[in-house]
Amino acid sequence: MDSGDPGPLRAQPGSVDDFDAAWQATVGSIAAARRRPGDSGADAVGVTVLTGFLGSGKTTVLRRLLAEPAGLRIAAVVNDIGPVNIDAAAIDGLQVASRTPERVELTNGCACCALVDDLAETLEGLAGARMSDAIVVEASGVADPATLALAAEGAAGCMLDGVVAVVDAQHLASQLSDPRVGPAVRRQIDVAHLVVLSKVDQVDSAEVAGLADLLGRLAPGRMVVPAVHGRIDPRLLLGAALRGATFPADTGEHPFEVASAVVTPTRPWQRAEVAHWFELSPPGLMRAKGWFSSPDGGCHEVQAVGRSWRIVPAGSAHDPAIVLICSSQEAVDSAVASLLNLDELTSGQRRPSG
């Protein structure tokens, strides 16, 4: 098969629990598709689904993100505001601007909202209010992230930005071998676009390498980002953080250095060519976002998380520019070089199939 390979044969059906989860996910995915007949445009708010098993550290990731949102107004949707403990001074001196039982707003424009009724309705409310640049949904430890992702994809005014699974470096191996917990953890990794390996300071570097290897076997092609104390570059987590083509210099606080570059097309590109480039999934590409114009004059927005990508008509005109974030300088250099090849193709010329 040329493309869209779902990877190795998966699924470990067996237990009643797993069967139930599979059924719930199936009907959930269909119910999610009921809500909206078509795709949202590029002006839709990006929704990141943050999943991870109990105690994996996803709440820590969320708290860090709200404290250091890269200038974005982030709305976090959680089951229960309590555990996020948004008042604590740990949210680095930020003040609470307003509070209701369902919503706590911070002075930096971020907010934490309780999930009411069903997720799609909550998301549609947030998207309609236009008060947020990005939405992060924290999945409860037992929720099926695929169903949540489909709900995000189906909510009017929203667009799934990506599914991020937080995996506990200390406990992953034992969780996977537990017949009751294993299937849920595997499902989370399986559906994720990006895997955050948390608590890497609690294990030695050989173990980290082993875990990366294990994750590579469980979910080939998934990008794995190590994190200490929940610190991850927001540019990796949120597509919205890639808006605009320039970044502040990296502060070096992230244990995992990423390399980024901006590619500026000098002429129109064929949509099919750009799609083909993303489908081949350049090695080490973690995130991409930007705009290009096509020979028919249309402006298109492109974005990618790991090997998942989409190209949609842009909501408004933008100067062509595409930001790439890769796992190393070599990877980003190579991605830039191959993407710039598109710039050399004349209109209508078809690249030989890779």
Binding site: L9, A22, A33, R34, S140, A146, L150, I311
Partner: protein
């Protein structure tokens, strides 16, 4: 009374403790004329013409089984999804065999396609497991089964959907389409795979439209009515009336199904309170009264329903200390708990029965506190306030429930299907073992019913299986008895699917036992539950049901 029909039987269990047994039952005009023996009913038979219908002469007759808490219309919409997975599984119709290989799946799909009624609607199946069923399906394989009926097959882990050519057309993609997750053959042609979220969302849209489209609610009622009948059920109640498509459309679907003879059950529509309040506001009591007068003995409404915590299988119920083993994943319902007395007050004062969903013991406490507050404001007897599900509870709560005059409608199936799983997953060993404390309710003197909540949780809808669970309390391993002191007697368990279930639905004056003057609803069994090994209760065959004196077969 024009003419009497007499059904002789090997044994009749009336569930009337005063006159528990019989060998013949006489019916006329939809009601029971007499139960006893051919000899005892002679005073009637001498006065009126009669026929003897001996089709059940070697069978065992019970009052029609009652499942007092289901969601047939809501769940039925999904039952059009055919299962093609590898493992045996519980289904509403019992245990469904897994399919061992891709060839077996293709064979099954071919058979389904051959009998698929409407070629413009997709044929939908789920549960395919490429790992254990010999690899992926693809468009060409599915085209060989049918190149006219759109085929949609969702994998067991639903990140892959497989489609044939007509389905690709319905989804609106062709070889020039662009998007992540559209699978292709080496020559660039679409191979019918939709992989990962964006692509599966695209593939699911036409299926969702077909599953929820006009007419699907009615089809669901017909389908689930047949499932319930096969399990011996003659009466049920829909506990979220109004929630899916609104009060009138849902009522009308049931009325049409009954009028056209496709729904062999009595059903009571119990409105979901938040939706009732939103839809009718100050007129809500008038609306319910008007529907009650519009309704009859087949379709009617009574009471009102609250949902005040999450579910047992999703581990979202609300528990007291020491709480969850790991992260607390509890949810409360739409009505804030602090507003509960105020919200229930108008119904309590108007004499409308309250059905209040409480799965966790913390929620049971809140519900009992609310009932106590209502009783203190305006004492009522025989109010039949019912706690629905009652999964995790304590013996003290059972006593308090009885003291306040409350009832319980209990989901017993989880004791077998899920309780062992939750010992180390969510609830901890003590509460998991003591799931559904029927023994405590019995000792406290509280009246209770058993129900399936047949919804989207894949456990069977079967009163005999519920009785089996209540009497044996055997866990999923097939051996361990879960909290032996919470087992109940066979007689008590059978009452809980007949006369006591009728009590919970406030219809024990006309349903739930075989007594002269009651509606002539029977469940006919192959074997006598009082004679078989208790572990064989779930295997007793349901031969037929009789509704208003008429066999439904």
């Amino acid at each position: 009374m024009e003419r009497i029909t007499v059904y002789p039987a090997a044994r009749i269990h009336t569930m009337d403790p005063g006159r528990p047994h019989g060998s013949a039952v006489a019916v006329a005009d939809g009601r029971i004329v007499s139960v006893g023996s051919m000899e005892s009913m002679q005073p009637w038979l001498r006065r009126y013409p009669y026929d003897i219908d001996d089709r059940y002469a070697d069978k065992v007759i019970f009052p029609g089984f009652i499942d007092p808490h289901t969601h047939l219309r809501l769940s039925g919409t999904y039952m059009g999804l055919h299962y093609v997975g590898p493992i045996d599984s519980a289904s509403p119709t019992g245990i469904r065999k897994g399919l061992p290989s891709r060839d077996a799946v293709l064979h099954q799909l071919r058979a389904l396609a051959a009998e698929h009624a409407d070629p413009s609607e997709p044929l939908t199946a789920w549960g395919y497991d490429p790992a254990s069923q010999d690899g992926h399906l693809d468009r060409d394989m599915l085209d060989e089964i049918s190149d006219t009926v759109p085929l949609w097959v969702c994998a067991y882990a639903p990140h892959i959907v497989y489609a044939n050519s007509p389905m690709l057309e319905l989804i609106g993609v062709d070889d020039d389409s662009i998007g992540h997750g559209l699978g292709r053959y080496a020559d660039g042609r679409l191979n019918g795979w939709f992989v990962e979220t964006e692509a599966t969302a695209r593939a699911n849209r036409p299926v969702a439209a077909s599953i929820f489209g006009p007419g699907t609610g009615r089809a669901a009622i017909d389908r689930m009515g047949a499932v319930a009948r096969a399990a011996g059920v003659t009466t049920t109640a829909d506990l979220v009336w109004g929630m899916a498509d609104g009060f009138e459309p849902e009522w009308d679907d049931h009325a049409a199904a009954i009028a056209e003879g496709t729904f062999p059950l009595r059903i009571y529509m119990i409105p979901f309170e938040p939706k009732l309040v939103r839809s009718y506001g100050a007129e809500m009591l008038d609306f319910l009264a008007s529907k009650r007068s519009e309704g009859d003995d087949r379709l009617n409404t009574h009471g009102v329903k609250y949902v005040n915590d999450g579910s047992y299988p999703s581990m979202t119920l609300v528990m007291n200390s020491p709480g969850y083993l790991d992260e607390d994943t509890a949810h409360t319902g739409e009505v804030p708990w602090e507003d509960m007395v105020e919200r229930m007050r108008p119904f309590w004062r108007a004499g409308v029965q309250i059905h209040s969903h409480a799965n966790g013991d913390r929620t049971v406490d809140m519900t009992l506190d609310t009932l106590a507050a209502l009783q203190a404001e305006q004492p009522r007897f025989d109010h039949r306030f019912t706690i629905e599900h009652y999964c995790i509870s304590t013996p003290a709560q059972a006593k308090r429930l009885a003291a306040l005059g409350g009832l319980a409608s209990v989901n017993i199936y989880f004791v077998h299907f899920r309780a062992q799983l939750h010992a180390d997953h969510g609830f901890g060993p003590d509460r998991s073992e003591a799931t559904a404390r029927l023994g405590s309710l019995e000792r406290a003197g509280a009246t209770f019913a058993l129900h399936s909540d047949f919804n989207l949780v894949v456990t069977p809808l079967s009163p005999l299986l519920a009785v089996w669970c209540a009497v044996n309390r055997v866990g999923a391993d097939g051996e361990t008895v879960m909290a032996p002191g919470e087992r109940i007697s066979l007689d008590r368990a059978l009452r809980a699917v007949t006369i006591d279930a009728a009590h919970v639905l406030a219809r024990d004056d006309r349903l739930g036992s075989i007594e002269a003057g009651k509606l002539a609803d029977f469940t006919v069994l192959d074997d006598d539950p009082y004679e078989v090994d208790p572990m064989a209760l779930r295997d007793i065959g349901v031969v037929d049901t009789v509704l208003g004196g008429e066999p439904t077969s």
